[in-house]
């Protein structure tokens, strides 16, 4: 009998059309928890990291955590894991809503999708009944349309994860979309789904998640519930303004990257802030499964040239499609955001790619004939047009759809690519937040903010305040309470946003009674560390080296203006200390001793002869 876990892993081979069910190994669950950890572990056993990301051998793994669907606060999360089409690193994209819990109710901890179909198909999981069905009629449809079509083809309350046209046309910016609007967005996981010709997964589950000690579990869940609803960040600003509440805050700090990171303050931020969003376009807030925070915005632009409706825009999207492109028009930013949703492409990478194109154009490296129209910073109409072309791979959109790294290289200016390991940075300037600088450079999926969002410490003082510009203790902070901790949280099925109000201790207090396994605080640190190292080994085997733990030259140069003019990202000084603390050698490889400590010694040979 499994508790917390359903105990089932569903394996679907789209090449042969076969479906089978495997049992979850409890030892593996204890070592890697679930979600991000477990799915990454499964990926490593299924696939050689050195192989091509768009090959049929690259499995697309959907994973839930042991807490997903239990009903404790914000237990809505599932992850999509594979080798990333955009970056070539390990990918783990994460999303909430109701799809993850439904997978659990249908009886599955994880879904391994291997092989490739010749024709478009969708997967219909109705509890224990699983079918691969033709999806000809769904191909080309937007996610919201796909969802409603599937609900009439399957079950009226089926939950759906799918790709938009972006995933179909193998855009490296494409994500997996669930519940109509929510994206497991980054790293191009949607392109792999498109390559497999898998349009969608529809799930209907009528089961439940059994708990080993329900009484103890609910004590802990209630405690967590009270902490979250008493927390001014989670239940105050995130509920009122959504993630967009950060816009004003970060901009006032002078840490809001603008015009492809040429500046760190945006004069138009007030027009696109969380407050402006509430006053202008917000219709409602919305929650994911069992979440008291309800940070999701349902918004609509009702007038003018940019009419549209959907969810968001979120903080990162407002930034990437706004400040980063110099656009201060909330309606246009929202429209661009809705289009990204329709095509199922990542707003951060899409905005960043267009910002890169804008810089190339303004600096004369990208001729107007190729673009088809002038693309200048601040031009809202051009932004919206470019986003739509990117979604469709139409005209120059065909180039944009492959992301900013490939764009910058193609036009001879790799230094205009603002990211690491081919993934674009997000909305916290590494010139200002020294923790983020180190995090961007060392993150296992490239320069993203959710592998270790040190802004919590450097702005909110959670778990403890360390000034953004301070250097001391940042390596340890990035490593342990952020990167390792995030790896742990992402593996449990709980939403990272709860971390403003709670710590590992509260999560472990749920995990143990949910699963009956020995989860505790000390082990959680080790589990996070193990997962991080496994991901690192995957990347090393895929061909990455310490040379890839780098930031763009631009952010190492002093900021030219704004309240923090003169500040710059300081990376090299940190890097060796960070490697040392991680138990890695000077070229960033885990030592044999480290791997043995974590029970990953099998990887030693695999990486060292690569």
């Amino acid at each position: 009998m499994y508790y917390g876990y359903t105990g089932n892993i569903l394996r679907v081979d789209l090449g042969t059309g076969t479906v089978s069910r495997e049992l979850l190994e409890l030892q593996m669950a204890e070592d890697f928890i679930g979600g991000r950890g477990l799915a990454s572990r499964l990926l490593c056993q299924e696939f050689d990291p050195a192989a091509d990301a768009l090959s049929p051998e690259n499995p697309l793994i959907f994973g839930t955590g042991p807490l997903t669907g239990t009903g404790a606060p914000a237990t809505s999360r599932y992850v999509v894991v594979c080798k990333a089409p955009l970056t070539g690193t390990i990918a783990c994209s994460n999303s909430g809503g109701f799809f993850g819990p439904e997978l659990k109710f249908a009886g599955y901890d994880a879904l391994i999708i291997q092989g490739e179909s010749a024709e478009p198909v969708y997967l219909w999981i109705d509890n224990r009944t699983v079918q691969i069905r033709p999806a000809e009629s769904l191909w080309g449809k937007f996610p919201t349309e796909t969802e409603s079509a599937l609900r009439s083809l399957t079950h009226p309350s089926a939950k759906v994860a799918c790709i938009g046209p972006g995933g179909e046309n193998l855009s490296l910016l494409a994500g997996v979309v669930n519940d109509g609007y929510r994206l497991a967005a980054r790293s191009g996981v949607g392109a792999l789904m498109g390559k497999k010709k898998l349009k969608a997964i529809a799930v209907h589950g009528t089961g439940s998640v059994s708990l080993q000690d329900p009484q103890q579990f609910w004590k802990a869940a209630l405690d967590m519930h009270q902490k979250i609803t008493a927390d001014p960040v989670s239940f105050g600003s995130f509920r009122a303004y959504g993630t967009a509440s950060l816009v004003s805050l970060i901009n006032e700090m002078g840490a809001y990257p603008t015009r492809n990171f040429q500046s760190d303050t945006f004069e138009g931020a007030a027009h696109t802030s969380g407050e402006a969003l509430v006053d202008g376009i917000l219709q409602r807030n919305r929650a994911c499964f069992a979440c008291p925070i309800a940070c999701t915005r349902v918004s609509e632009v009702k007038e003018g040239p940019y009419q549209g409706r959907g969810e968001g825009p979120e903080y990162e999207s407002i930034w990437a499609l706004g400040a980063l492109c110099g656009v201060a028009d909330l309606a246009a930013v929202s429209k661009a955001n809705f289009i990204c949703g329709d095509y199922g492409i990542d707003t951060i990478s899409t905005g960043a790619t267009i910002a890169c194109a804008m810089e190339l154009f303004e600096k004369g490296a990208l001729p107007e004939q190729e673009l088809g129209f002038p693309l200048r910073f601040g031009d809202a109409a051009a932004l919206v047009r470019a986003v739509e072309m990117t979604g469709k791979r139409e005209g120059f959109g065909d180039v944009l759809a492959d992301g900013s790294y490939r764009l910058a290289v193609r036009y001879g200016h790799p230094e205009f690519f603002m990211g690491a390991k081919k993934l674009e940075m997000s909305a916290y300037s590494p010139r200002v937040f020294q923790g983020m600088a180190l995090q961007y450079a060392t993150s296992n999926r490239g320069a993203c903010h959710v592998r270790g969002n040190t802004v919590a410490a450097e702005l909110y003082g959670i778990p403890r305040y360390l000034p953004p510009e301070a250097l001391e203790q940042k390596e340890e902070m990035v490593r342990r309470p952020f990167q390792n901790s995030t790896a742990f949280v992402d593996s449990t099925g709980i939403c990272l946003f709860t971390k403003f109000a709670i710590t590992h201790r509260e999560i472990c207090a749920l995990l143990a009674p949910a699963t009956g396994l020995d989860f505790n605080f000390d082990r959680s640190i080790e589990q996070g560390d193990r997962i991080w190292n496994l991901e690192r080994m995957f990347n090393l085997r895929a061909g990455f080296t310490c040379e890839d733990d780098r930031l763009p030259q631009r952010v190492s140069e002093p900021a030219v203006d704004g309240p923090r003019a003169g500040s710059r990202a300081i990376l090299q000084e940190h890097l060796q200390t960070y490697y040392l603390l991680r138990g890695w050698d000077e070229s960033g490889r885990p030592t044999r001793a480290k791997l043995e400590e974590l029970g990953l010694e099998d990887w030693w040979g695999v990486c060292n002869d690569a």
Binding site: P156, G207, S208, W218, A240, D279, R284, P292
Partner: protein, 572 residues
């Protein structure tokens, strides 16, 4: 003791056994068919003869459609007149309480591509003038449905199977199925043994005992039907009829007799097919209320019949081990699907692959359900109740953001009645915390199949929980025929589980979706107001559900709200 060998052994000479035997022999397979009695002696020969696609669960609709497509040619194919009449099926609604539920159900069936519609009473009478208008509100109507002579249908397939070479042993009760080291299965009867690589177990309720012996607990409840037929009468109607709120069915046979009957759910594992005068009288009274001038007709013959039901109203068709393929539990409407089920079973036996159309009927679907043991709200409810903090209200409230501040409700000066649940969709974020809390309080886990309160999402910015509104009329309690409902201290209708037979009358009676069926419990569940401290209210983070006195107008408003957004039963 005689020993036999075959490619396939079929246990049960009902419609499923006979169609499967026919299809397999046609394909050149060597088949041995066994029945403990005679052909058609089980449900098949005793059935109502309805050949309908409508009024089935969604998963069965494709199967029924495919089967109905075979019927027009069956008389020719089998060389016997099966008396097939394709004149439609009407499912009559007798009371206003069921009207809305039926309309919703019609929409559900339409969404599965079925040609079915809702007819108002005038249209029903135009179609069938011999019905009594006083007793009818309307009906669902599926013109492609019809009926046939069940005995002729079964024997038709049987005779063809024999013609093709099926060997048969009648009056031969299978007592055990054993897996042999040779990889074959051996079937044991008092006077014979027989071995084959595959055994198709199509013994109706008789399958349960045999399953039990091979270690599979087949979840079947025994339903006994009592039927009768009148003397030949002049033509009255050509359609097949069912009744929404009861198990009454009727049709007129080729020689003019009106064939009708209904079901009684029996708690016992007994296989008796006796009839009782009281039940027969009830059925006679019921049909006389619906059809003009029937009360004078003479009854020629009465008989009983059993057709077992599964928790979700669908058959179980699946391999139990390498050898035994089970097909039972057709829940009172397996005659019509028999011809197609036989084809699919034959395919499955021959190529070893489950035909896609049968996939929904796998046995694993009950795995979780059967493990779930019902526990009265105990320790966990206590945990929920002892915490003294109300969840909502914390955090910084900002007047600019409308949904951050719940409205202040005035308590009426002279509160009448008891406090009730009130729902405010303007505050609801769709988080399903209420579902979770309620489920935990009653089931100790987030049990999706038995929700007393269920959040629905009519649009992308409008969400609300559907829950019992504790209406004054208490329709559910009024219609419950088994005394399984009572009013508790809080004034809520609550379930007496031991008495509930899952007849689901109450589900159809409640216009607002207040009652749900729990397959795990084999009983219905509904809101009981948590001893006056509703878990949903405590855990709703936004005060979208409150527990307070509301006046009649507010109660009506709630009723409209719930009715408007009530999902079809299939969606629950």
């Amino acid at each position: 003791m005689a020993h036999h060998q075959a490619d396939v052994i079929i246990i049960g000479g009902g419609i499923v056994g006979c169609t499967t035997a026919y299809q397999l022999t046609r394909a050149g397979v060597d088949v041995l068919l066994l029945d403990r009695d005679g052909i058609g002696s089980g449900a098949s020969g005793r059935s109502g003869g309805g050949v309908r696609q409508s009024a089935r669960v969604s998963e069965e609709i494709p199967l029924a459609k495919a089967s109905v497509a075979l019927f027009p040619d069956l008389s020719d194919e089998l060389g016997v007149d099966i008396e097939y009449v394709q004149a439609g099926n009407l499912r009559v609604v007798e009371s206003l309480d069921y009207r809305r539920a039926m309309q919703v159900d019609v929409a559900r069936q339409q969404s599965h591509g079925l040609d079915v519609s809702w007819l108002e009473v005038a249209d029903v009478l135009e179609l069938v003038p011999t019905l009594r208008w006083q007793s009818i509100i309307g009906a669902s109507y599926c013109p492609d449905d019809g009926h046939c002579n069940p005995l002729r249908l079964v024997t038709g397939f049987y005779n063809k199977a024999i013609e093709g070479g099926t060997r048969v042993l009648l009056n031969c009760e299978v007592q055990n199925i054993v897996q042999k080291d040779s990889g074959l299965a051996e079937v044991e009867t008092p006077a014979h043994t027989a071995t084959a690589p595959v055994v198709v177990l199509a013994a109706g309720f008789g399958s349960q005992k045999l399953c039990y012996q091979i270690g599979y607990d087949l979840p079947l409840a025994n339903v006994r039907y009592e039927s009768m037929i009148t003397e030949p009468l002049p033509p009255l109607f050509r359609q097949m009829f069912g009744v929404a709120s009861s198990d009454l069915f009727f049709r007129q046979t080729a020689n003019g007799g009106v064939h009708f009957g209904g079901g009684i759910l029996e708690e016992t594992g007994q296989e008796d097919t006796h009839t009782t005068s009281s039940n027969l009288q009830l059925a006679v009274a019921h049909i006389s209320k619906l059809v003009s001038d029937l009360e004078k007709a003479k009854l020629l013959r009465t008989w009983g019949g059993l057709d077992p039901s599964t928790p979700d109203g669908m058959p179980i068709i699946d391999f139990l081990n390498e050898n035994v393929l089970l097909a039972s539990g057709f829940c009172g409407h397996g005659l019509a699907t028999g011809p197609i089920v036989g084809q699919y079973l034959a395919q499955w036996v021959q190529n070893g692959v489950c035909p896609e159309a049968l996939a929904p009927f796998n046995r694993n679907r009950f795995d979780g359900w059967l493990q779930t043991k019902w526990t009265p709200s105990g320790s966990v409810a206590a945990v929920l109740a002892t915490e003294d903090t109300q969840i909502a209200g914390a955090g910084e409230l900002d007047a600019r953001v409308p949904f951050m501040t719940p409205p202040k409700y005035e308590e009426p000066d002279e509160p009448s009645g008891q406090p009730k649940l009130a729902v405010n969709p303007q505050m609801c974020t769709g988080c399903r915390m209420c579902e979770v809390a309620c489920s935990i309080a009653h089931e100790q886990e987030t049990a999706q199949a038995q929700l007393r309160i269920q959040v629905v999402y009519p649009s992308d910015d409008y969400f609300l929980p559907i829950v019992c509104i504790h209406c004054e009329e208490r329709h559910c309690l009024k219609v419950c025929p088994h005394e399984a409902m009572q009013v508790n201290e809080q004034g809520a209708v609550s379930i007496i589980r031991e008495n509930c037979t899952s007849c689901m009358e109450c589900i159809f009676a409640c216009p607002t979706g207040g009652v749900t069926h729990s397959p795990a419990k084999s009983a219905v569940v509904k809101c009981d107001l948590c001893d006056g401290d509703p878990a949903c209210v405590r855990y709703c983070p936004t005060e979208a559900i409150t527990f307070r006195h509301i006046d009649a107008a507010a109660s009506d408003e709630l009723a409209t709200l719930m009715t408007t957004h009530l999902p079809s039963r299939a969606a629950r």
